[in-house]
Symmetry: C2
Subunit: 342 residues, 2 copies
């Protein structure tokens, strides 16, 4: 019942623990005979090295930590999948933690991971994280750190991102090309960098096309979680206050689907009366009616790349090579569906 140890194997074979250890790891200075005996018995007893002890010796855990604002979220779950799959390929395990968009929790979780001695940390920031001491502390302690999607420019670590500004520009330009003249924007939370960048892309597209930028058409979400309900509410307000609007660029698909649903309910025709484009390409977007145009954000790939970068840094660190943070920018793609047909 008790797990088998090297000591037991050594005892049964009447040899030393060190020899058993070396035999199992194919050290060249152990006789073939001994190796054979040891390996056979290890198999019979189903010997599994005690990870705690190995970790303590090697000072590595082959475990990484992942902090995500919200697990139940199509984009994030795709990323989790990418990270977990890629990690498994290299024999790494992933501890997952959810910050719930809370800075306090995020900070606590970083500390938790740090004293669990994970070999590295991957994180996407909570919306209200504006102090980054906890992350700088990770960088300072030379523990590899990779941020993705919701990043902080001021933290000196590798980042896997998309070009939010450019993607938002493309989305807005698409609305303009489809004939929209007065375009609103639901930007989600105020703080996160990608909300800001998407907003800037939207505004730039308007100006580049000679359309006026009207701040009254930009809706900021009050609560921290950008939700379906918010999309419905904002749409109702928008339609009341600005009945001349003919297009909306919404920075999350979920909110965009809320908007669609509200339009359907109020009898406002999408795309005839108003065109809507979302952001992220959640699975849902192609099954709603009318199907939602959006910007595809490569979640799985983002997860894969985040782990690959982290792994590279962990390995270089172990070999005492020096490395510099890298910014990895992934391509997005405009997905045209019914909601912006002209």
């Amino acid at each position: 019942m008790k797990p088998v140890t090297l000591k037991q194997i050594a005892g049964q074979l009447n040899i030393s623990v060190s020899t058993v250890s070396k035999a199992l790891k194919n050290y060249p200075d152990v006789s073939k005979e001994t190796k054979l005996k040891v390996k056979e018995l290890a198999k019979v007893l189903n010997y599994q090295p005690n990870a705690f002890a190995v970790n303590l010796r090697r000072k590595e855990s082959r475990t990484i930590g992942l902090i995500i604002p919200e697990i139940v979220h199509h984009f994030f779950s795709t990323i989790i999948k990418g990270i977990v799959n890629q990690a498994e390929k290299e024999g790494y395990l992933v501890i997952i933690l959810q910050s719930n968009e809370s800075y306090e929790l995020e900070k606590k979780q970083i500390n938790l991971l740090l004293n669990q001695h994970v070999d590295g940390i991957i994180i996407s920031l909570a919306n209200n994280s504006t102090n980054f001491d906890h992350l700088n502390q990770v960088v300072l302690s030379k523990k590899p750190l990779v941020m993705f999607d919701k990043i902080a420019k001021l933290v000196n670590c590798s980042k896997v991102i998309i070009n939010d500004r450019k993607a938002a520009y493309t989305a807005t330009q698409h609305l303009i090309d489809a004939g929209c003249k007065r375009i609103a924007h639901f930007r989600g939370s105020l703080l996160p960098l990608n909300s800001i960048d998407r907003f800037l892309g939207y505004r730039k597209a308007l100006l580049d096309n000679g359309l006026p930028y009207d701040p009254a058409l930009v809706y900021i979400s009050e609560c921290d979680d950008t939700s379906f309900e918010e999309g419905k509410m904002n749409t109702r307000k928008l339609l009341e206050d600005h009945d001349d609007v003919d297009g909306i660029f919404i920075s999350t698909d979920l909110v965009a689907i809320g908007a669609l649903t509200e339009c359907n309910k109020l009898g406002v025709k999408v795309p005839d009366d108003i065109k809507i484009i979302g952001f992220s390409n959640w699975f849902m977007s192609k099954v709603v009616s009318p199907a939602l145009s959006t910007i595809d954000q490569p979640g799985y790939l983002m997860g894969e790349m985040a782990f690959k970068q982290l792994y590279k840094e962990i390995t270089m660190q172990k070999n005492k090579e020096s490395y510099y943070p890298e910014i990895i920018e992934l391509e997005t793609k405009l997905i045209v569906r019914e909601s912006t047909a002209s």
Copy 2:
């Protein structure tokens, strides 16, 4: 830069490592003075106990393993969230692994978790797992194990489930009450217990209501992942082969939404020509059009309960109390929306 150890604290204060250790843990046999000094210095140096060493000594890791068939899945991600949140409350960390519906992978992952010495394992089975030796091995080694949703009756461990048969009966009865006379069933994969149970509930409802059971109306999925595309394909086949069908009970919302989409495309009116009910209450179901009737399956609660049960068993085990596996059955709820309106 190097993590601070007890030894360093002891060195600086000129006292022994044991005293430092005891002081930090408030052992009653250490003087107030010493405690104060030690704690102060520990704080200044930002001392964090080395988890490896603590684990090795205590033979516990305060970490559990979670194996899930597929991460990108609304129901499962809700469960992950429930488990992770509940675990955090008790100071436990969760290692997440995805079996990808593969028995081979699942087996490997169990072994991985076992020699990581997690304190317990929570698992939902891969569809093609029919051999349960790897799980029985966990039970035999007295490592707490909890299964949820996709379980194996033959494994002697605690389980958190819903009553699939009853829920399927309710769904089918609802179609009958809405006037359906000839009801098809998309049952998903052949093997998993919940597919079987849902099928049995469907059949029983028909028979109890004096409707004939026609095996030709039951569609089994060929591939292992029950998908949107499958819903579309099956629906096309069904409409060609059986144009008298007026209701479908589909064992997953995702497939049901595929069916809805295909009906919309083919001009078949839901709910007028044909009524559709799904299973699981994915978020998507309320935003498609027509909104999908379904059975609500309490994912978050299921995750919470799974962890709570595991935690109970871990604790009892530690205290050398004996415990017996429990079956925890959670309530489901019929959600009536437009797709079955009469």
